[in-house]
Symmetry: C2
Subunit: 198 residues, 2 copies
DNA sequence: CCTTTTTTGTTTCGACTCGCTACAGTAGTG
DNA sequence: CACTACTGTAGCGAGTCGAAACAAAAAAGG
């Protein structure tokens, strides 16, 4: 190994972009399998997002912020996934404007062929300590970049300052609702990093 | 800070994709300045690539591999940049098929407004040791992913096994040519990691 | 030398992305 | 009741993307 070079931010940025791009490309598709299951990068990102976001965040608007795009573009992507039968639309209980998306059975099945799985596997091969260090560093970078871009930071409720856990039950002060254990690991738009409020 | 979570490969992959996407978006453009200098993500990537690649790698084909796309698509992106006056085309000295791209003065000027600068700044703020660790880890991930995707790995000659440095001068065994000091840090298509050939 | 084969680059096509603008409907405010 | 803010959609034009077809040059093999 010969990696005691300066490792400037440039190189790191290039690596991140390259990883992201290569990770999302379908790559060599296997021999068998249906060839028609080719979603675009944006569609995959949307499908992944709606599968991992909690009920407060499964809206086209929230996805548009997560994907750093406009609501119009996000709306088209969502529509295409609904047409494909991978997402289903549901009316919001109280807010008449809002629609909440759900990943259908076919959507979950599709997610098993996520081209990004390979990137995940590669990252999974890193030593746990290294992975934790990288996660911490990149988390910091995400927070900094989001702030300078005036973009929201996404994160799970388990690390959110809005969330309060007492005796097994968790309560979110932002949405004023109780959270199930499963929801604690889901992605939320209203995420606020867990810092000491000074 | 509260970052002693498991940090699975999923989360890492999501962070990488998010960083890449947010880092390439133009973000809030300032108050002044010409509003017309908006290149697309692919165009920025191409401009950056040709500014950093050595003379053996400044071809549309090499860029298409770097960008993990087809030669056809890369050809279009290059053409658009030539039309904008940011790249200039030059015939290859010996190979009649090949064209070598050069970043024009206007191209270099444009690169000073690279939207990815902010991502670089954010990464630059990391502690050097952390940055080195992240670079090593991501470099490993890039190599692994590229191998499983059958994609070439890009790197600089200073870390390439083709390169041999003796008494101040560097020689590349792959292209059979002498390399200047400046070229040693440039990106090359024919990069081969510097491992012990066992 | 001549004939494949490979490499390089381009063009065209159709589907999709993207940012933008305009728009309709709902929610919250005063 | 305005008035503002927010959510979602539709259409436009430029660009991206992969695929296929193509021309030209280089390389390989006889």
């Amino acid at each position: 190994m010969s990696t005691d070079i300066s490792a400037s931010g440039s190189d790191l940025a290039d690596m991140i972009v390259y990883l992201s791009r290569l990770g999302q490309s379908p790559g060599r598709l296997g021999i068998g399998a249906a060839p028609a299951q080719n979603l675009t990068a944006a569609q995959w990102t949307a499908l992944r997002y709606f599968a991992r976001a909690n009920r407060f965040s499964r809206t086209p608007s929230a996805f548009s912020e997560f994907h750093a795009t406009t609501r119009g573009t996000a709306s088209q992507t969502v529509k295409s996934l609904v047409t494909l039968g991978l997402l289903s639309r549901q009316m919001h209980e109280t807010d008449g404007r809002s629609t909440v998306m759900e990943v259908t059975e076919a959507g979950h099945e599709m997610l098993r062929h996520d081209p990004m799985a390979e990137l995940r596997n590669v990252l999974e091969k890193l030593a746990p300590a290294v992975r934790a260090a990288v996660a911490q560093a990149l988390g910091q970078a995400v927070a900094d970049l989001a702030q300078s871009r005036n973009a929201p930071v996404f994160g799970s409720c388990s690390e959110c300052s809005h969330c309060q856990t007492d005796a097994g039950t968790s309560y979110c002060h932002c949405t004023q609702s109780l959270l199930s254990l499963r929801e604690m690991d889901a992605i939320c738009v209203d995420f606020q990093p867990n810092r000491n409020p000074a």
